[in-house]
Protein backbone atom coordinates (compact mmCIF):
# COMPACT_ATOMS: atom_id res chain seq x y z
CA UNK A 1 0.00 0.00 0.00
CA UNK A 2 1.36 3.36 -1.01
CA UNK A 3 0.19 6.71 0.32
CA UNK A 4 0.85 9.80 -1.78
CA UNK A 5 2.48 12.21 0.65
CA UNK A 6 3.76 15.71 0.05
CA UNK A 7 7.38 15.02 0.85
CA UNK A 8 7.99 12.40 3.46
CA UNK A 9 10.82 11.67 5.84
CA UNK A 10 11.46 8.09 6.95
CA UNK A 11 10.46 7.57 10.54
CA UNK A 12 13.77 5.84 11.19
CA UNK A 13 15.45 9.25 11.04
CA UNK A 14 13.08 10.59 13.68
CA UNK A 15 13.47 7.46 15.78
CA UNK A 16 17.23 8.00 15.84
CA UNK A 17 17.06 11.75 16.43
CA UNK A 18 16.28 11.59 20.20
CA UNK A 19 19.28 9.34 20.74
CA UNK A 20 21.55 11.79 18.96
CA UNK A 21 20.09 14.65 20.99
CA UNK A 22 20.66 12.70 24.20
CA UNK A 23 24.32 12.27 23.28
CA UNK A 24 24.53 15.94 22.34
CA UNK A 25 23.02 16.81 25.71
CA UNK A 26 25.71 14.78 27.46
CA UNK A 27 28.36 16.50 25.40
CA UNK A 28 27.06 19.92 26.38
CA UNK A 29 26.89 19.27 30.11
CA UNK A 30 30.35 17.73 30.07
CA UNK A 31 31.31 15.35 32.83
CA UNK A 32 33.13 12.09 33.00
CA UNK A 33 32.56 8.57 31.86
CA UNK A 34 29.53 8.14 34.14
CA UNK A 35 27.64 10.82 32.23
CA UNK A 36 28.69 9.34 28.90
CA UNK A 37 27.62 5.84 29.92
CA UNK A 38 24.29 7.12 31.22
CA UNK A 39 23.75 9.10 28.02
CA UNK A 40 24.59 6.07 25.91
CA UNK A 41 22.22 3.87 27.88
CA UNK A 42 19.53 6.51 27.57
CA UNK A 43 20.16 6.79 23.84
CA UNK A 44 19.78 3.04 23.43
CA UNK A 45 16.56 3.07 25.43
CA UNK A 46 15.25 6.00 23.39
CA UNK A 47 15.84 4.11 20.17
CA UNK A 48 14.50 0.84 21.50
CA UNK A 49 11.40 2.07 23.32
CA UNK A 50 10.63 5.70 22.48
CA UNK A 51 7.29 5.43 24.28
CA UNK A 52 9.02 4.94 27.62
CA UNK A 53 9.58 8.17 29.63
CA UNK A 54 13.32 8.10 29.06
CA UNK A 55 13.59 11.61 27.66
CA UNK A 56 11.93 13.38 30.64
CA UNK A 57 14.11 11.40 33.04
CA UNK A 58 17.19 12.38 31.06
CA UNK A 59 16.06 16.01 31.15
CA UNK A 60 15.75 15.87 34.94
CA UNK A 61 19.13 14.16 35.25
CA UNK A 62 20.63 16.85 33.04
CA UNK A 63 19.18 19.54 35.29
CA UNK A 64 20.49 17.80 38.39
CA UNK A 65 23.93 17.51 36.81
CA UNK A 66 23.87 21.21 36.00
CA UNK A 67 22.78 21.88 39.57
CA UNK A 68 25.72 19.87 40.84
CA UNK A 69 28.11 22.05 38.88
CA UNK A 70 29.18 25.15 40.73
CA UNK A 71 28.63 27.70 38.02
CA UNK A 72 27.44 26.20 34.77
CA UNK A 73 26.55 29.52 33.15
CA UNK A 74 29.76 31.21 34.23
CA UNK A 75 32.58 32.19 31.97
CA UNK A 76 32.53 33.55 28.45
CA UNK A 77 31.03 30.43 26.85
CA UNK A 78 28.65 29.66 29.71
CA UNK A 79 25.56 31.53 28.45
CA UNK A 80 25.97 30.13 24.95
CA UNK A 81 26.36 26.63 26.27
CA UNK A 82 23.32 27.06 28.49
CA UNK A 83 21.29 28.41 25.55
CA UNK A 84 22.28 25.39 23.49
CA UNK A 85 21.39 23.08 26.37
CA UNK A 86 17.93 24.66 26.73
CA UNK A 87 17.35 24.09 23.02
CA UNK A 88 18.68 20.53 23.02
CA UNK A 89 16.65 19.47 26.08
CA UNK A 90 13.50 20.89 24.55
CA UNK A 91 14.19 19.20 21.22
CA UNK A 92 14.93 15.95 23.01
CA UNK A 93 11.55 15.98 24.75
CA UNK A 94 9.64 16.96 21.61
CA UNK A 95 11.38 14.51 19.30
CA UNK A 96 11.00 11.69 21.82
CA UNK A 97 7.28 12.43 22.15
CA UNK A 98 6.95 12.41 18.36
CA UNK A 99 9.03 9.25 17.98
CA UNK A 100 6.70 7.50 20.41
CA UNK A 101 4.01 7.63 17.74
CA UNK A 102 6.16 6.21 14.98
CA UNK A 103 7.07 2.72 13.93
CA UNK A 104 10.26 2.02 12.03
CA UNK A 105 8.47 1.61 8.71
CA UNK A 106 6.24 4.64 8.83
CA UNK A 107 6.77 7.99 7.16
CA UNK A 108 6.33 11.54 8.35
CA UNK A 109 5.24 14.38 6.14
CA UNK A 110 7.48 17.41 6.01
CA UNK A 111 4.50 19.62 6.79
CA UNK A 112 4.20 17.86 10.15
CA UNK A 113 7.87 18.49 10.84
CA UNK A 114 7.40 22.11 9.80
CA UNK A 115 4.55 22.51 12.25
CA UNK A 116 6.57 20.86 15.00
CA UNK A 117 9.47 23.18 14.17
CA UNK A 118 7.27 26.27 14.34
CA UNK A 119 5.84 25.29 17.71
CA UNK A 120 9.34 24.52 19.04
CA UNK A 121 10.52 27.88 17.76
CA UNK A 122 7.70 29.74 19.50
CA UNK A 123 8.37 28.09 22.84
CA UNK A 124 12.11 28.46 22.41
CA UNK A 125 11.79 32.18 21.87
CA UNK A 126 10.09 32.45 25.25
CA UNK A 127 12.57 30.12 26.94
CA UNK A 128 15.61 31.85 25.49
CA UNK A 129 14.08 35.17 26.52
CA UNK A 130 13.88 33.87 30.06
CA UNK A 131 17.48 32.75 29.75
CA UNK A 132 18.51 36.20 28.60
CA UNK A 133 16.69 37.69 31.57
CA UNK A 134 18.41 35.28 33.92
CA UNK A 135 21.82 36.08 32.44
CA UNK A 136 21.08 39.79 32.70
CA UNK A 137 20.01 39.44 36.31
CA UNK A 138 23.10 37.40 37.05
CA UNK A 139 25.44 39.87 35.44
CA UNK A 140 23.77 42.94 36.94
CA UNK A 141 22.78 41.78 40.39
CA UNK A 142 24.52 38.46 40.84
CA UNK A 143 21.25 36.62 41.13
CA UNK A 144 21.21 32.98 40.24
CA UNK A 145 24.85 32.23 40.65
CA UNK A 146 24.54 30.64 44.00
CA UNK A 147 23.85 33.70 46.06
CA UNK A 148 21.25 36.45 46.28
CA UNK A 149 18.51 34.39 44.67
CA UNK A 150 15.61 35.78 46.69
CA UNK A 151 14.10 37.55 43.71
CA UNK A 152 14.26 34.39 41.64
CA UNK A 153 12.79 32.33 44.44
CA UNK A 154 9.84 34.68 44.81
CA UNK A 155 9.31 34.72 41.06
CA UNK A 156 9.53 30.94 40.96
CA UNK A 157 7.00 30.47 43.75
CA UNK A 158 4.61 32.81 41.97
CA UNK A 159 5.19 30.93 38.72
CA UNK A 160 4.53 27.56 40.37
CA UNK A 161 1.29 28.87 41.90
CA UNK A 162 0.17 30.22 38.53
CA UNK A 163 1.12 27.02 36.74
CA UNK A 164 -0.70 24.92 39.32
CA UNK A 165 -3.79 27.07 38.98
CA UNK A 166 -3.66 26.60 35.24
CA UNK A 167 -2.96 22.91 35.22
CA UNK A 168 -5.28 21.71 37.94
CA UNK A 169 -8.77 21.23 36.52
CA UNK A 170 -11.26 23.83 37.68
CA UNK A 171 -13.70 21.16 38.72
CA UNK A 172 -11.35 20.25 41.56
CA UNK A 173 -11.72 23.70 43.11
CA UNK A 174 -15.53 23.65 43.03
CA UNK A 175 -17.58 22.32 45.89
Amino acid sequence: VEIELDGAVPAAVLRLLPALLALACAGLVGGGSVVRVLALAGAVLLVWRPDWPVAPIMAVLTGLWVLAREDFAGGAEGPWRLAALVLVVHLLLRSAALAGHLSWRSEVERAVLGQVGRSVLGVQLLAQGLLLGAVWLRSSAGVGAGGGGEVLRIAAVVAVVVVTALVVPRAWSRR
Binding site: P56, A59, G114, A127
Partner: protein
Protein backbone atom coordinates in the same frame (compact mmCIF):
# COMPACT_ATOMS: atom_id res chain seq x y z
CA UNK B 1 -24.33 26.96 13.36
CA UNK B 2 -26.06 28.31 16.42
CA UNK B 3 -24.47 30.75 18.82
CA UNK B 4 -24.17 28.07 21.46
CA UNK B 5 -21.62 26.26 19.34
CA UNK B 6 -20.06 29.23 17.64
CA UNK B 7 -17.03 29.13 19.87
CA UNK B 8 -16.79 25.38 20.05
CA UNK B 9 -13.38 25.40 18.45
CA UNK B 10 -10.76 25.42 21.13
CA UNK B 11 -8.56 27.73 19.15
CA UNK B 12 -11.15 30.44 18.86
CA UNK B 13 -11.01 30.04 15.06
CA UNK B 14 -14.57 29.40 14.01
CA UNK B 15 -13.63 29.03 10.33
CA UNK B 16 -11.46 26.00 11.04
CA UNK B 17 -14.12 24.49 13.24
CA UNK B 18 -16.75 24.92 10.53
CA UNK B 19 -14.45 23.36 7.96
CA UNK B 20 -13.87 20.41 10.28
CA UNK B 21 -17.61 20.01 10.86
CA UNK B 22 -18.28 20.07 7.14
CA UNK B 23 -15.47 17.63 6.46
CA UNK B 24 -16.68 15.00 8.88
CA UNK B 25 -18.13 12.25 6.74
CA UNK B 26 -20.67 9.57 7.49
CA UNK B 27 -22.69 11.55 9.96
CA UNK B 28 -26.41 11.00 10.16
CA UNK B 29 -27.22 14.60 10.81
CA UNK B 30 -27.37 17.14 7.96
CA UNK B 31 -24.01 18.58 7.04
CA UNK B 32 -24.70 22.10 8.27
CA UNK B 33 -26.59 21.10 11.39
CA UNK B 34 -24.98 22.17 14.67
CA UNK B 35 -23.48 19.41 16.72
CA UNK B 36 -22.58 19.50 20.36
CA UNK B 37 -18.89 19.99 21.04
CA UNK B 38 -17.08 16.79 21.84
CA UNK B 39 -14.93 16.15 24.86
CA UNK B 40 -11.42 17.61 24.72
CA UNK B 41 -8.59 15.19 24.25
CA UNK B 42 -7.10 13.82 27.43
CA UNK B 43 -3.45 14.22 28.20
CA UNK B 44 -1.48 11.02 28.15
CA UNK B 45 1.60 9.73 29.91
CA UNK B 46 3.85 11.72 27.62
CA UNK B 47 2.24 14.99 28.70
CA UNK B 48 2.41 14.08 32.38
CA UNK B 49 6.08 13.10 32.20
CA UNK B 50 7.12 16.12 30.15
CA UNK B 51 5.22 18.57 32.32
CA UNK B 52 6.44 16.84 35.46
CA UNK B 53 10.07 16.97 34.38
CA UNK B 54 9.77 20.65 33.53
CA UNK B 55 8.12 21.47 36.84
CA UNK B 56 10.76 19.52 38.75
CA UNK B 57 13.50 21.49 37.04
CA UNK B 58 11.70 24.76 37.68
CA UNK B 59 11.07 24.03 41.34
CA UNK B 60 14.54 22.65 41.99
CA UNK B 61 16.13 25.59 40.22
CA UNK B 62 13.95 28.04 42.11
CA UNK B 63 14.56 26.46 45.49
CA UNK B 64 18.27 26.27 44.86
CA UNK B 65 18.35 29.78 43.47
CA UNK B 66 19.84 28.50 40.21
CA UNK B 67 18.38 30.25 37.17
CA UNK B 68 20.40 28.01 34.83
CA UNK B 69 18.58 24.95 36.21
CA UNK B 70 15.18 26.59 36.29
CA UNK B 71 15.42 27.83 32.73
CA UNK B 72 15.99 24.26 31.54
CA UNK B 73 12.46 23.41 32.67
CA UNK B 74 10.87 26.51 31.17
CA UNK B 75 10.52 25.20 27.62
CA UNK B 76 8.95 21.83 28.56
CA UNK B 77 6.50 23.52 30.92
CA UNK B 78 5.54 26.20 28.40
CA UNK B 79 5.16 23.65 25.60
CA UNK B 80 3.05 21.33 27.73
CA UNK B 81 0.82 24.14 28.95
CA UNK B 82 0.31 25.34 25.40
CA UNK B 83 -0.60 21.81 24.32
CA UNK B 84 -3.05 21.54 27.21
CA UNK B 85 -4.63 24.88 26.45
CA UNK B 86 -4.95 24.12 22.75
CA UNK B 87 -6.15 20.55 23.08
CA UNK B 88 -8.58 19.66 20.32
CA UNK B 89 -12.14 18.43 20.72
CA UNK B 90 -13.70 15.64 18.73
CA UNK B 91 -11.92 13.02 16.75
CA UNK B 92 -10.22 12.62 13.44
CA UNK B 93 -12.38 11.18 10.67
CA UNK B 94 -11.45 9.23 7.60
CA UNK B 95 -13.62 8.24 4.70
CA UNK B 96 -12.31 6.00 1.94
CA UNK B 97 -13.66 6.51 -1.56
CA UNK B 98 -12.51 4.43 -4.49
CA UNK B 99 -11.13 6.27 -7.49
CA UNK B 100 -12.71 5.00 -10.69
CA UNK B 101 -10.15 3.52 -13.08
CA UNK B 102 -9.30 5.15 -16.38
CA UNK B 103 -11.30 3.45 -19.11
CA UNK B 104 -9.25 1.51 -21.60
CA UNK B 105 -6.13 1.32 -19.46
CA UNK B 106 -5.09 -1.91 -17.78
CA UNK B 107 -6.25 -1.86 -14.19
CA UNK B 108 -3.12 -2.90 -12.37
CA UNK B 109 -3.68 -1.02 -9.15
CA UNK B 110 -6.47 -0.19 -6.77
CA UNK B 111 -6.62 3.49 -5.93
CA UNK B 112 -8.73 5.35 -3.42
CA UNK B 113 -8.98 8.78 -1.91
CA UNK B 114 -8.79 9.19 1.84
CA UNK B 115 -10.93 12.11 2.92
CA UNK B 116 -9.52 13.23 6.24
CA UNK B 117 -10.97 15.61 8.76
CA UNK B 118 -9.21 16.57 11.96
CA UNK B 119 -10.39 18.95 14.68
CA UNK B 120 -8.64 22.31 14.92
CA UNK B 121 -5.60 22.14 17.13
CA UNK B 122 -4.44 18.81 15.78
CA UNK B 123 -0.80 18.72 14.82
CA UNK B 124 -1.00 15.57 12.72
CA UNK B 125 -3.04 12.49 12.07
CA UNK B 126 -1.50 9.08 12.43
CA UNK B 127 -2.63 6.65 9.74
CA UNK B 128 -2.22 2.94 9.20
CA UNK B 129 -3.59 1.91 5.83
CA UNK B 130 -3.90 -1.74 4.92
CA UNK B 131 -5.87 -4.19 2.86
CA UNK B 132 -5.95 -7.96 2.62
CA UNK B 133 -2.83 -9.31 0.97
CA UNK B 134 -0.84 -6.12 1.42
CA UNK B 135 1.44 -5.01 4.22
CA UNK B 136 0.06 -2.03 6.11
CA UNK B 137 1.65 1.35 5.62
CA UNK B 138 1.91 3.90 8.41
CA UNK B 139 2.27 7.62 8.04
CA UNK B 140 2.01 10.79 10.06
CA UNK B 141 0.24 13.33 7.89
CA UNK B 142 -0.61 16.97 8.21
CA UNK B 143 -4.34 17.66 8.13
CA UNK B 144 -5.33 21.32 8.15
CA UNK B 145 -8.92 20.52 9.24
CA UNK B 146 -9.72 18.69 5.98
CA UNK B 147 -7.58 17.02 3.37
CA UNK B 148 -7.63 14.39 0.67
CA UNK B 149 -4.90 11.82 0.18
CA UNK B 150 -4.50 9.30 -2.60
CA UNK B 151 -3.76 5.70 -1.65
CA UNK B 152 -2.88 2.96 -4.08
CA UNK B 153 -2.02 -0.70 -3.99
CA UNK B 154 -0.95 -2.93 -6.82
CA UNK B 155 -3.66 -5.43 -7.63
CA UNK B 156 -4.77 -7.23 -10.75
CA UNK B 157 -7.79 -8.74 -9.07
CA UNK B 158 -11.30 -8.04 -10.24
CA UNK B 159 -14.73 -8.69 -8.80
CA UNK B 160 -15.62 -7.99 -5.20
CA UNK B 161 -12.60 -6.58 -3.45
CA UNK B 162 -12.01 -5.11 -0.03
CA UNK B 163 -10.96 -1.49 -0.14
CA UNK B 164 -8.45 0.01 2.24
CA UNK B 165 -8.99 -0.20 5.99
CA UNK B 166 -7.64 2.83 7.82
CA UNK B 167 -6.72 3.04 11.47
CA UNK B 168 -6.39 6.67 12.46
CA UNK B 169 -5.67 8.78 15.47
CA UNK B 170 -5.27 12.51 15.86
CA UNK B 171 -2.15 13.87 17.54
CA UNK B 172 -2.29 17.16 19.38
CA UNK B 173 0.30 19.88 19.79
CA UNK B 174 3.66 18.78 21.03
CA UNK B 175 2.78 15.18 20.22
CA UNK B 176 1.89 14.82 23.89
CA UNK B 177 -1.86 14.61 23.31
CA UNK B 178 -3.64 11.94 21.35
CA UNK B 179 -7.23 11.74 20.27
CA UNK B 180 -9.39 8.65 20.28
CA UNK B 181 -8.20 5.96 17.91
CA UNK B 182 -10.73 4.74 15.36
CA UNK B 183 -10.88 2.42 12.41
CA UNK B 184 -12.51 2.96 9.05
CA UNK B 185 -13.21 -0.60 7.95
CA UNK B 186 -12.46 -1.58 4.39
CA UNK B 187 -15.54 -1.41 2.22
CA UNK B 188 -16.45 -3.95 -0.39
CA UNK B 189 -16.21 -2.58 -3.90
CA UNK B 190 -16.73 -4.21 -7.27
CA UNK B 191 -13.71 -3.92 -9.52
CA UNK B 192 -14.85 -4.28 -13.11
CA UNK B 193 -12.74 -6.24 -15.58
CA UNK B 194 -11.09 -4.13 -18.24
CA UNK B 195 -11.72 -5.59 -21.70
CA UNK B 196 -8.86 -5.66 -24.18
CA UNK B 197 -8.91 -4.89 -27.87
CA UNK B 198 -9.70 -7.89 -30.08
CA UNK B 199 -9.41 -7.21 -33.81
CA UNK B 200 -11.50 -10.14 -35.04
CA UNK B 201 -13.65 -12.86 -33.55
CA UNK B 202 -15.13 -16.04 -35.01
CA UNK B 203 -18.74 -16.27 -36.12
CA UNK B 204 -21.26 -18.93 -35.09
CA UNK B 205 -22.46 -21.76 -37.28
CA UNK B 206 -25.71 -19.97 -38.03
CA UNK B 207 -26.51 -16.31 -38.09
CA UNK B 208 -29.87 -15.09 -36.90
CA UNK B 209 -32.28 -12.30 -37.72
CA UNK B 210 -32.65 -9.97 -40.66
CA UNK B 211 -30.36 -7.22 -39.51
CA UNK B 212 -26.84 -6.99 -38.26
CA UNK B 213 -23.33 -6.52 -39.48
CA UNK B 214 -22.60 -9.97 -40.88
CA UNK B 215 -23.57 -11.33 -44.25
CA UNK B 216 -25.56 -14.50 -43.98
CA UNK B 217 -25.97 -17.15 -46.69
CA UNK B 218 -29.58 -16.18 -47.28
CA UNK B 219 -30.80 -13.82 -49.95
CA UNK B 220 -31.89 -10.48 -48.65
CA UNK B 221 -31.10 -6.82 -48.49
CA UNK B 222 -28.07 -4.96 -47.34
CA UNK B 223 -25.21 -7.27 -48.19
CA UNK B 224 -22.92 -7.64 -51.15
CA UNK B 225 -23.85 -9.21 -54.50
CA UNK B 226 -24.94 -12.81 -54.30
CA UNK B 227 -25.89 -13.60 -57.92
CA UNK B 228 -27.89 -12.48 -60.93
CA UNK B 229 -31.13 -14.37 -61.16
CA UNK B 230 -34.14 -14.40 -63.50
CA UNK B 231 -36.96 -12.20 -62.30
CA UNK B 232 -39.48 -13.98 -60.11
CA UNK B 233 -42.75 -12.90 -58.61
CA UNK B 234 -41.95 -11.01 -55.46
CA UNK B 235 -38.78 -9.37 -56.76
CA UNK B 236 -38.83 -5.60 -56.70
CA UNK B 237 -38.51 -3.67 -59.93
CA UNK B 238 -35.62 -1.70 -58.49
CA UNK B 239 -33.59 -4.90 -58.33
CA UNK B 240 -33.71 -5.43 -62.11
CA UNK B 241 -30.25 -5.23 -63.62
CA UNK B 242 -30.95 -3.70 -67.04
CA UNK B 243 -27.44 -4.15 -68.38
CA UNK B 244 -27.46 -7.88 -67.71
CA UNK B 245 -30.99 -8.14 -69.05
CA UNK B 246 -30.02 -6.35 -72.28
CA UNK B 247 -26.98 -8.58 -72.68
CA UNK B 248 -28.65 -11.90 -71.98
CA UNK B 249 -32.14 -11.21 -73.27
CA UNK B 250 -32.05 -8.60 -76.04
CA UNK B 251 -35.73 -9.20 -76.83
CA UNK B 252 -36.67 -8.68 -73.19
CA UNK B 253 -38.33 -12.07 -72.93
CA UNK B 254 -36.66 -12.51 -69.54
CA UNK B 255 -35.74 -9.93 -66.90
CA UNK B 256 -32.78 -10.39 -64.59
CA UNK B 257 -32.40 -9.10 -61.07
CA UNK B 258 -29.36 -8.64 -58.83
CA UNK B 259 -29.73 -10.54 -55.60
CA UNK B 260 -27.73 -9.60 -52.52
CA UNK B 261 -26.82 -11.32 -49.29
CA UNK B 262 -28.98 -10.73 -46.25
CA UNK B 263 -27.43 -9.17 -43.15
CA UNK B 264 -27.74 -11.02 -39.89
CA UNK B 265 -26.44 -10.98 -36.39
CA UNK B 266 -24.55 -13.47 -34.30
CA UNK B 267 -25.76 -14.70 -30.94
CA UNK B 268 -22.96 -15.39 -28.53
CA UNK B 269 -23.33 -17.01 -25.14
CA UNK B 270 -20.54 -16.61 -22.63
CA UNK B 271 -20.59 -19.51 -20.20
CA UNK B 272 -18.40 -18.73 -17.22
CA UNK B 273 -17.45 -21.45 -14.79
CA UNK B 274 -17.45 -19.55 -11.51
CA UNK B 275 -17.30 -22.65 -9.33
CA UNK B 276 -13.60 -22.34 -8.66
CA UNK B 277 -11.21 -19.45 -8.43
CA UNK B 278 -7.61 -20.60 -8.35
CA UNK B 279 -4.36 -18.68 -8.60
CA UNK B 280 -1.07 -19.57 -10.21
CA UNK B 281 0.33 -20.95 -6.96
CA UNK B 282 -1.13 -24.43 -6.37
CA UNK B 283 -0.32 -24.23 -2.66
CA UNK B 284 -3.08 -21.61 -2.32
CA UNK B 285 -5.75 -23.80 -3.89
CA UNK B 286 -6.72 -25.28 -0.53
CA UNK B 287 -7.74 -21.84 0.69
CA UNK B 288 -5.44 -21.96 3.69
CA UNK B 289 -3.10 -19.39 2.17
CA UNK B 290 -4.30 -16.23 0.43
CA UNK B 291 -3.55 -15.58 -3.20
CA UNK B 292 -1.19 -12.70 -3.81
CA UNK B 293 -3.00 -9.58 -5.01
CA UNK B 294 -0.66 -9.25 -7.97
CA UNK B 295 -1.52 -12.76 -9.15
CA UNK B 296 -4.52 -12.93 -11.46
CA UNK B 297 -6.70 -15.89 -10.58
CA UNK B 298 -8.62 -18.08 -13.01
CA UNK B 299 -11.79 -16.08 -12.42
CA UNK B 300 -9.91 -12.82 -13.08
CA UNK B 301 -8.71 -14.25 -16.39
CA UNK B 302 -12.22 -15.52 -17.16
CA UNK B 303 -13.72 -12.12 -16.44
CA UNK B 304 -11.18 -10.36 -18.63
CA UNK B 305 -11.51 -12.86 -21.45
CA UNK B 306 -15.31 -12.79 -21.38
CA UNK B 307 -15.41 -8.99 -21.22
CA UNK B 308 -12.99 -8.75 -24.15
CA UNK B 309 -15.03 -11.12 -26.27
CA UNK B 310 -18.32 -9.46 -25.29
CA UNK B 311 -16.96 -6.08 -26.23
CA UNK B 312 -15.77 -7.37 -29.60
CA UNK B 313 -19.17 -8.81 -30.52
CA UNK B 314 -21.29 -6.01 -29.10
CA UNK B 315 -19.22 -3.45 -30.98
CA UNK B 316 -20.47 -4.88 -34.30
CA UNK B 317 -24.06 -5.18 -33.16
CA UNK B 318 -24.21 -8.85 -32.20
CA UNK B 319 -26.12 -10.19 -29.21
CA UNK B 320 -24.26 -11.46 -26.17
CA UNK B 321 -25.59 -13.28 -23.12
CA UNK B 322 -23.97 -14.71 -20.02
CA UNK B 323 -24.48 -18.05 -18.31
CA UNK B 324 -22.95 -18.97 -14.98
CA UNK B 325 -22.15 -22.59 -14.27
CA UNK B 326 -21.96 -21.86 -10.56
CA UNK B 327 -25.68 -21.10 -10.24
CA UNK B 328 -28.73 -22.76 -11.74
CA UNK B 329 -30.50 -19.60 -12.87
CA UNK B 330 -29.66 -17.75 -16.05
CA UNK B 331 -27.28 -14.89 -15.44
CA UNK B 332 -28.00 -12.51 -18.34
CA UNK B 333 -30.18 -12.91 -21.42
CA UNK B 334 -28.63 -12.19 -24.82
CA UNK B 335 -28.86 -8.58 -25.84
CA UNK B 336 -27.13 -5.97 -27.95
CA UNK B 337 -25.92 -2.44 -27.54
CA UNK B 338 -23.64 -0.38 -25.37
CA UNK B 339 -25.72 -0.83 -22.24
CA UNK B 340 -25.62 -4.59 -22.72
CA UNK B 341 -21.84 -4.36 -22.52
CA UNK B 342 -22.16 -2.58 -19.18
CA UNK B 343 -24.56 -5.26 -17.98
CA UNK B 344 -22.26 -8.04 -19.15
CA UNK B 345 -19.18 -6.51 -17.53
CA UNK B 346 -21.01 -5.96 -14.26
CA UNK B 347 -22.44 -9.46 -14.34
CA UNK B 348 -18.97 -10.86 -14.90
CA UNK B 349 -17.59 -8.78 -12.03
CA UNK B 350 -20.06 -10.13 -9.49
CA UNK B 351 -19.49 -13.77 -10.41
CA UNK B 352 -17.74 -15.64 -7.65
CA UNK B 353 -17.68 -19.09 -6.12
CA UNK B 354 -20.68 -19.50 -3.85
CA UNK B 355 -20.13 -22.57 -1.74
CA UNK B 356 -20.79 -26.04 -3.08
CA UNK B 357 -22.65 -25.65 -6.38
CA UNK B 358 -25.90 -27.50 -6.91
CA UNK B 359 -25.88 -30.57 -9.12
CA UNK B 360 -26.81 -29.62 -12.68
CA UNK B 361 -29.08 -32.19 -14.31
CA UNK B 362 -29.18 -30.66 -17.79
CA UNK B 363 -27.06 -28.10 -19.58
CA UNK B 364 -28.20 -24.47 -19.66
CA UNK B 365 -30.56 -23.75 -22.57
CA UNK B 366 -28.96 -21.83 -25.39
CA UNK B 367 -30.47 -20.06 -28.38
CA UNK B 368 -30.34 -22.04 -31.60
CA UNK B 369 -27.21 -21.42 -33.57
CA UNK B 370 -25.50 -19.45 -30.86
CA UNK B 371 -21.76 -19.41 -30.58
CA UNK B 372 -20.72 -20.68 -27.15
CA UNK B 373 -17.61 -19.59 -25.29
CA UNK B 374 -16.95 -21.68 -22.20
CA UNK B 375 -14.49 -20.10 -19.75
CA UNK B 376 -13.26 -22.69 -17.30
CA UNK B 377 -10.19 -24.15 -15.68
CA UNK B 378 -11.40 -27.65 -16.64
CA UNK B 379 -10.17 -28.93 -13.31
CA UNK B 380 -13.28 -31.13 -13.12
CA UNK B 381 -15.49 -32.89 -15.63
CA UNK B 382 -18.61 -30.71 -15.59
CA UNK B 383 -17.46 -27.93 -17.89
CA UNK B 384 -15.81 -30.39 -20.27
CA UNK B 385 -18.98 -32.52 -20.40
CA UNK B 386 -21.10 -29.48 -21.20
CA UNK B 387 -18.73 -28.44 -23.96
CA UNK B 388 -19.02 -31.88 -25.53
CA UNK B 389 -22.84 -31.87 -25.25
CA UNK B 390 -23.11 -28.48 -26.95
CA UNK B 391 -20.59 -29.33 -29.65
CA UNK B 392 -22.41 -32.55 -30.49
CA UNK B 393 -25.74 -30.73 -30.62
CA UNK B 394 -24.48 -28.46 -33.40
CA UNK B 395 -23.30 -25.37 -31.60
CA UNK B 396 -19.97 -23.91 -32.41
CA UNK B 397 -18.14 -24.08 -29.09
CA UNK B 398 -14.91 -22.38 -28.11
CA UNK B 399 -13.42 -23.68 -24.89
CA UNK B 400 -11.35 -20.95 -23.25
CA UNK B 401 -8.89 -22.36 -20.75
CA UNK B 402 -8.44 -19.75 -18.04
CA UNK B 403 -6.15 -21.63 -15.70
CA UNK B 404 -3.22 -19.27 -14.97
CA UNK B 405 0.31 -20.34 -15.78
CA UNK B 406 1.17 -22.41 -12.73
CA UNK B 407 4.19 -21.90 -10.50
CA UNK B 408 5.52 -25.16 -9.19
CA UNK B 409 8.40 -23.63 -7.23
CA UNK B 410 8.21 -24.16 -3.51
CA UNK B 411 6.03 -27.24 -3.68
CA UNK B 412 7.10 -30.33 -1.80
CA UNK B 413 7.27 -33.78 -3.36
CA UNK B 414 3.70 -34.77 -2.51
CA UNK B 415 2.30 -31.50 -3.78
CA UNK B 416 4.26 -31.90 -7.00
CA UNK B 417 2.88 -35.40 -7.44
CA UNK B 418 -0.67 -34.19 -6.83
CA UNK B 419 -0.19 -31.33 -9.27
CA UNK B 420 1.14 -33.72 -11.88
CA UNK B 421 -1.93 -35.93 -11.55
CA UNK B 422 -4.23 -32.93 -11.81
CA UNK B 423 -2.43 -31.79 -14.94
CA UNK B 424 -2.69 -35.22 -16.57
CA UNK B 425 -6.42 -35.44 -15.88
CA UNK B 426 -6.95 -31.92 -17.15
CA UNK B 427 -5.05 -32.57 -20.38
CA UNK B 428 -7.18 -35.66 -20.95
CA UNK B 429 -10.34 -33.59 -20.52
CA UNK B 430 -9.10 -30.92 -22.90
CA UNK B 431 -8.24 -33.60 -25.45
CA UNK B 432 -11.80 -34.93 -25.14
CA UNK B 433 -13.15 -31.42 -25.65
CA UNK B 434 -11.16 -30.97 -28.85
CA UNK B 435 -12.12 -34.45 -30.04
CA UNK B 436 -15.79 -33.56 -29.60
CA UNK B 437 -15.40 -30.73 -32.12
CA UNK B 438 -14.84 -27.75 -29.87
CA UNK B 439 -12.03 -25.30 -30.41
CA UNK B 440 -9.57 -24.62 -27.63
CA UNK B 441 -7.98 -21.30 -26.67
CA UNK B 442 -5.64 -20.95 -23.73
CA UNK B 443 -6.22 -17.40 -22.54
CA UNK B 444 -3.04 -17.27 -20.47
CA UNK B 445 -0.89 -17.85 -23.55
CA UNK B 446 0.35 -14.87 -25.53
CA UNK B 447 -0.97 -16.51 -28.71
CA UNK B 448 -4.58 -16.47 -27.52
CA UNK B 449 -5.48 -13.38 -29.54
CA UNK B 450 -3.74 -14.78 -32.60
CA UNK B 451 -5.59 -18.06 -32.25
CA UNK B 452 -8.93 -16.24 -32.11
CA UNK B 453 -8.01 -14.20 -35.18
CA UNK B 454 -7.17 -17.34 -37.13
CA UNK B 455 -10.52 -18.82 -36.14
CA UNK B 456 -12.23 -15.58 -37.17
CA UNK B 457 -10.53 -15.54 -40.57
CA UNK B 458 -11.62 -19.09 -41.30
CA UNK B 459 -15.22 -18.47 -40.33
CA UNK B 460 -15.44 -15.14 -42.21
CA UNK B 461 -14.26 -16.86 -45.38
CA UNK B 462 -17.57 -18.71 -45.53
CA UNK B 463 -20.11 -16.51 -43.78
CA UNK B 464 -22.53 -18.23 -41.51
CA UNK B 465 -20.77 -21.55 -41.68
CA UNK B 466 -18.85 -23.06 -38.86
CA UNK B 467 -15.56 -23.86 -40.43
CA UNK B 468 -12.06 -24.36 -39.31
CA UNK B 469 -11.02 -26.28 -36.34
Amino acid sequence: MSDAFAGAGPQGRPDDWHAYQRGRPDLDAPVDAPRPPAEPWAGGDSLVWTLGAGLVLLVVGALAGRADVAVLGAAPVLGSLWALWARPRGEAWVDVVRTPPVLGEPDRELTAVLRLAAPPGSEAVRLRVGRPGHAATEALVHVPTTRELTVRASSVRTGRQTLFAVDHQGIGRGAVLTGPAARAAGRQVVVLPQPREMPALPLPARLRGLSGQHESRRTGDGGSLRDVHPFQPGDTLRAIDWKVTARRSPQLEQLYVRRTMALAEAVVTLVVDSRDDVGPDPSTWSGMRPTRPDDATSLDLARQAAATIARGYLAVGDRVGVEDLGVLRRALRPGAGRRQLDRVVHQLAVLRPQGAPAVRLRPPRLLTGSLVFVFSTFLDREAADLVQVWARSGHRVVAVDVLPRLRAQGLDARERLALRMVRIEREDRLADVVAAGAELVRWGDPEAATRLQVMARRSHRRPGRAVGR
